[in-house]
């Protein structure tokens, strides 16, 4: 229905405006409707990293796109906030500064949400309070072991 879509759009739009500057250390992002008709319009993500001009997400760099998409994911997540959130390697294309801000936001949200994140990134590993290592010592058979960050670095060596 028109109202329902508008309500969802507005809520996610408000949330992405809150999340984006925390992830980018500044700047701004918002959602735009591509059409006047609420029943048929598409949705576009417009973003402006600090110091840059606003553009459609499609025109950003690889890492900027990924981080903007993370802001969108968290905004949609908060529509219907679940008790936990599982993230699979969302930090892969991010530079260290962006990974750092991503970790800060996850820590902040972890006051209410349980985060389970898969990562190869050492900075992200360091923010965890519990690290679960998965190994395949025996061909094709996964086992798990609790690890600390130093051990995780070794395990990443495969």
């Amino acid at each position: 229905t028109r109202e329902r879509f508008k309500e969802t759009f507005d809520k996610v739009n408000a949330k992405i405006q809150e999340k984006f500057p925390k992830l980018f250390g500044g700047g701004h992002a918002h959602l735009e409707m591509t059409d006047d008709d609420l029943l048929t319009t598409g949705v576009a993500i417009m973003a402006r990293p600090p110091g840059k001009r606003i553009s459609n997400i499609h025109l950003m760099s690889g890492g900027e796109k990924a981080l903007t998409a993370v802001a969108m994911v968290f905004a949609i997540f908060e529509l219907n906030p679940a008790p936990f959130c599982m993230l699979d390697e969302v930090d892969a294309p991010l530079d260290e500064a962006n990974v750092g801000r991503f970790c800060e936001l996850v820590k902040e949200m972890s006051a209410q949400v349980q985060f389970i994140f898969i990562t190869h990134n050492k900075v992200t590993m360091e923010m965890s309070q519990q690290l679960i290592g998965v190994t395949m010592r025996e061909s094709g058979v996964s086992r798990i072991v609790d690890v600390d960050v130093a051990e995780a670095a070794l395990m990443a060596m495969g």
Binding site: L79, F117, I118, Q129, S142
Partner: protein
């Protein structure tokens, strides 16, 4: 409401019974490429009622059962169990009085899935019902798999609209 444990057995590369004890709100899962990390994501999605094999990176529903390795034979069934702390009563209805709620799904080679709530057999619908209002479910944004970020990035305006509508 928090997720305390994930128990896997016979599920993809987790052939042996395995328990992930989640003792904190910031849990990292690490390990080499191909060791089974994303399989844990598939496991949680699956037990919450995912019914499309391709959302589990398979072609048919029995693709989630351990299908053998150079050292092990295939097995006949897969099971995933989630154990929730429900002391805040967020899981409502008849389970609101339980401090711990366990949700389990198993599947055998014929593709037949069986669901259990606190050990009692139930229908898939009962599982999705207890998750109503908790933000959880197979397509919830609580589970962001490898490749979801790229899909969001590449989404055309109409596709992005659909993502918003599905999430509402």
């Amino acid at each position: 409401m928090r997720l305390n444990k994930i128990k896997l057995a016979g599920f993809k590369s987790f052939v042996d019974p395995t328990t992930l004890n989640l003792t904190s709100n910031l849990v990292g899962i690490v390990g080499p490429n191909g060791c089974g990390k994303s399989n844990t994501i598939d496991a949680v999605r699956w037990v919450m009622g995912e019914s499309s094999a391709k959302h589990l990176r398979g072609q048919s529903m029995d693709d989630v059962i351990f299908n053998g390795s150079s050292s092990r034979k295939p097995v006949a069934q897969a099971s995933i169990e989630l154990i929730f702390d429900n002391s805040d009563g967020a899981i409502g209805g008849e389970y609101a009085k339980f401090n711990e709620v366990s949700v389990r799904r198993s599947v055998s080679r014929d593709g037949q899935s069986t669901y259990y709530l606190n050990g009692t057999r139930c229908r898939r619908r009962d599982i999705t019902d207890i998750f109503l209002g908790t933000g959880l479910g197979p397509r919830s944004y609580a589970i962001i798999e490898q490749g979801m970020i790229s899909r969001l990035i590449e989404a055309k305006p109409q596709e992005l609209r659909v993502y918003l509508e599905e999430a509402a």
